[in-house]
Point group: D2
Chain length 157, copies 4
C-alpha cells in the first residue's frame, strides 16, 4: 500500500536518497518531465542494489561478483500525484515489496521538500539473471538474506 | 491484451511513429536505458494527442484550444522484453485501451527493426483537466468522439 | 585562464553547486556521457542567473521581471579532462569571464570529489534579449552591477 | 568557416543524419534544450566514426578492432542561431575540419526542416587513444586515409 505521508514514508523506507531537481529537467509544460522520474527511480534502485554488494558496471558487466549473477529490470511504473518544479530537492525512498523465487519488487516514494508532499509513487520489478548461462536464475539465498536484512533494518535516519 | 507479433501490432494500432535509436541512449550496461523508453512512449502519446487537434504547448500552456481543457499524464509503465541496441530504428504504436469518464488509457508496443520483435510494452493513463478551473473534468464529447474515431479508423499503413 | 586546482577553483569562484552523479548518466563507454556535462553547466548557469533576481520560467517566460529582458544562451562549450564515474559528487563553479555591451561569459570548472580533480572546463556566452521587442538589448546597468558584484563578492564558502 | 545555407551545407558535408525532434526535448522555455543539441552532435559524430569501421561499444569497449585504438572526445561546442521546436526534423551534417597528428575535428551544421535554416553550428575534437597502453597515440595511417577519403568523397545524396 502506498504511503502518502512524507514523514512516514521516510521513516519506514529501507533507504532514501536526495536528488536536487535540475532546471533542465522541466519540459515545455513547465514541470519535471515524466521520463525524468524514471531516472530518479533508477538512482534509488541502484543505491539499493549497491547495498547488496553490487559494483557499478563500469565495464558494462553488471555482474554480481563471482557468481555471474546480475539484475535485469523487468518492468517499472510511476504514478504522478503532483507536478514538481525547479528549484526543489527530492527524497526518493526504496522499500521491498514482494520477493519471489527469481525476482523482487522495489517500491518508491518521491517526496518534494518544497511541497512537503509525496509527489509520485514508483515500483520496479527486478529479475535475477545469470549473464554467463544467459538464463533467469533463482535469487541466491545469500542475496535474499541481504535484501531482507536491509529491508527490515532500523530505518535510515 | 498485449500483442507480441510485430506485424499484427503495427497493423492494428491507431498509429505508429518511427524513432532512430541514438548511441547515447545506451547506458553503462550497453543497451538502451530504461528511462529512455518513457521518452519514446511520450513521443507516441504526444503524436496521438496531436491527432486530436491539440497544439504543442510552446508557451507551456498545454491547453486544448478555447475550452481550457488539457491532458495530464496520471501514470505510465513499461515492461521490457528484450534489450535494445544502437544502431536500430524503433516503431512505437499507440492504441486505445480503456476510455472512462475523465480519462483514457493508451497502450504501446515498441518494435525493433533490427530484431523484428516487440521489445517492450507500455501503457499510460491520461486524465482530462481544466487548467482554468484547476480540476479534473469529464472528457468533452467531441474529444471522446475523435479519440474513438482515430482508434477505429483503418489502421495506418 | 582555466584553473586546474580544485581548491583554488572553488575558493575563487562566484558560486558553486553540488550535483550527485546518477548511474544512468553513464553511457555505453562506462563513464558520464558528454551531453550530460551540458546539463551540469546549465544548472550552474541557472543558479548564477537566479542570484541576479531572475525567476524560474515556470510558464515558459524566461523574462527578467518587468523589463521584459531575458537571457539567451548563445554558445556553450566543454573540454573534458578526465572521465567521470558513478558514484561521485561534482562541484560546478561559475565565474564571470568577459562582460560586453549585450552579453557576458560564464566560466565553469567541474570538480570531482572522488578524484579530487578538475575533470572538465566549460564556458557559456549569454546574450540579453528583449522578449517583447524581439531584439538583443544592452545589459541593463542594474543587471551589470549585480553581475559584477556577485562576481567580486567574497567567494562562497 | 561555418556554412549558413542549408542546401550548401547538406551538399558539401561528408554525411548527414536525420533526427526527429521529440516533444520531450523541449525545456521550460518551450524550445529544444541546449544539452539536447550535444546528443544530436554525438549521433552525427558516431555515424561518422562508424563509417571508419568502428563498432558500437556494446560492452563498453570503444576499441577500434585489434589495435586497441579508440577515440576520446576531447572537447565539443555548439553555437545556437535559432530556437528549435517540436514538431520538426533535423539534418545534422559532419565534415572534417582539421586533422592533426593524434586528433581530428568534426564540424556540424544542424538544419531545421520546418525553418529551412541552419539553426546551430557544432564542432568536436576527437583524440586517438590506445586503451591498452592508456596513452594518446598517433592516428594510424589507415584510419587517416579512411577519414580523408570519407571527407572528400562525392557528397552523400
Amino acid at each position: 500500500m502506498p504511503i502518502h505521508d512524507p514523514a512516514s514514508a521516510l521513516a519506514s523506507a529501507a533507504l532514501a536518497i536526495e536528488i536536487p531537481v535540475a532546471w533542465g529537467e522541466m519540459d515545455a509544460l513547465g514541470h519535471v518531465n515524466n521520463a525524468i522520474y524514471f531516472r530518479y527511480l533508477e538512482s534509488a534502485r541502484v543505491e539499493f542494489i549497491r547495498r547488496l554488494g553490487w559494483k557499478a558496471p563500469e565495464q558494462g558487466s553488471g555482474h554480481l561478483g563471482r557468481q555471474g549473477v546480475g539484475f535485469i529490470l523487468q518492468s517499472v511504473q510511476c504514478r504522478f500525484r503532483r507536478p514538481v518544479f525547479y528549484p526543489d530537492t527530492l527524497s526518493v525512498t526504496s522499500r521491498l515489496g514482494d520477493i519471489g523465487e527469481d525476482r523482487f519488487t522495489l517500491r518508491h516514494e518521491v517526496i518534494s521538500k518544497a511541497q512537503s508532499e509525496v509527489v509520485a509513487l514508483g515500483e520496479g520489478t527486478i529479475v535475477t539473471y545469470d549473464y554467463v548461462a544467459k538464463a533467469k536464475v533463482p535469487l541466491p539465498q545469500t542475496l535474499r538474506d541481504i535484501i531482507v536484512s536491509i529491508s527490515t533494518a532500523r530505518p535510515h535516519t
